[in-house]
Point group: C2
Chain length 207, copies 2
């Protein structure tokens, strides 16, 4: 029974686990789309308001905070970033699944505000694999890599708050598992079953 309302998927996992690539795979299904964040930082060249970000003033951002309109928000280098709840809900109601690629702390904020969100944790097969992936990028110093690995273990400690674990060993298999999770979530018996029952009852009476 395909439900009309979409679902919010929070995709988290340590840096280097390949969650960005998995999200890209999921976005190939046009029922799925990325959440658009609101930010107070200035737009960079080519960035489109409403597509890359919602660019707003600090005053506007704080108004959203005050009326509780963020699923999560954080400050990075004096700029505010947040996921506006009303925008996400509007898209869920249109039947879209919204994906949110966010760190574990943000994921837990989302779960607190919207308990029906589905939280997926992307894990590396091992820390050794994570290390070699980070080293392979060749963009970070050894010190930064050590910090990331230590942060990874701290994030994994919160895995109990998540709903699903996807180990990203072979990308195609991990993406396939994530797709299976979304299919299964969509097949869950809805909280309100009367519309399902009525469909068959009415057909019986009509016959």
């Amino acid at each position: 029974m395909s439900q009309n309302r979409g679902k919010l998927y929070v995709i988290s996992g340590p840096s280097g686990t390949g969650k960005g690539t998995i999200c890209k795979e999921l976005l190939k299904d046009n029922r799925n789309e990325f959440s658009v964040s609101m930010t107070t930082r200035a737009p960079r060249e080519g960035e489109v308001h409403g597509k890359d970000y919602f660019f707003v003033s600090k005053e506007e951002f704080l108004e959203h905070v005050e009326r509780g309109n963020f699923l999560e928000h954080a400050t990075v280098f004096d700029n505010y970033y947040g996921t506006p709840k009303d925008m996400v809900i509007k898209r869920l109601e249109r039947g879209r699944n919204v994906l949110l690629d966010i760190d574990v702390q943000g994921g837990l904020q989302v779960k607190a505000v919207m308990p029906e969100a589905v939280l997926i944790f992307i894990l590396p097969p091992s820390l050794a694999v994570l290390r070699s992936r980070l080293e392979g990028r060749g963009t970070e110093t050894q010190e930064v890599i050590e910090k990331r690995l230590s942060k990874a273990v701290n994030e994994i400690k919160l895995i109990g708050e998540y709903d699903y674990i996807v180990v990203n060993d072979v990308l195609e298999e991990a993406a396939d598992l994530a797709r299976s999770i979304m299919k299964a979530e969509n097949a869950k018996v809805p909280e309100k079953v009367m519309p399902v029952i009525r469909k068959y009852e009415q057909e019986e009476k009509g016959e």
Copy 2:
């Protein structure tokens, strides 16, 4: 994270929805196997004890009832049939998924005894389709078909107790959805997360 322990899947749905065929598809994965019922009826030619059924005396059956060793049991034409809990648990502990093709009443009994069982309801796309499938068999009278349709609607009324809905319109898609549900269930964050966390912590300390 593939969990070692298997899961019990209850597959229910009105007669004619094709749940038997879906189960056969699932059994192609050799991690999945059918549950074996215990019965007091006499073995038919070719039936193997422990494979088709566990054939027991009425006394033995009633002993199992008394010590609460049935996930569900019922009487059909003076014979008893039941699903022995200890046998199912033994197979789950060996990492097998156990499938139970059973009616909705039986499914609810199972859920009461083993709340962690995953209940999948197979639905026909419509009663009209169900009717034409039943008529297509050519084995039942019109009266029996009417009874089955009416029973189908009564079963569907209990759908709120189930976990997932699989609409069997195109068999291959329905079987694929059932497989996705099993994959997703296997990716659920386990209740005890310490073994998962420890794996990464130990690797960190070892490094």
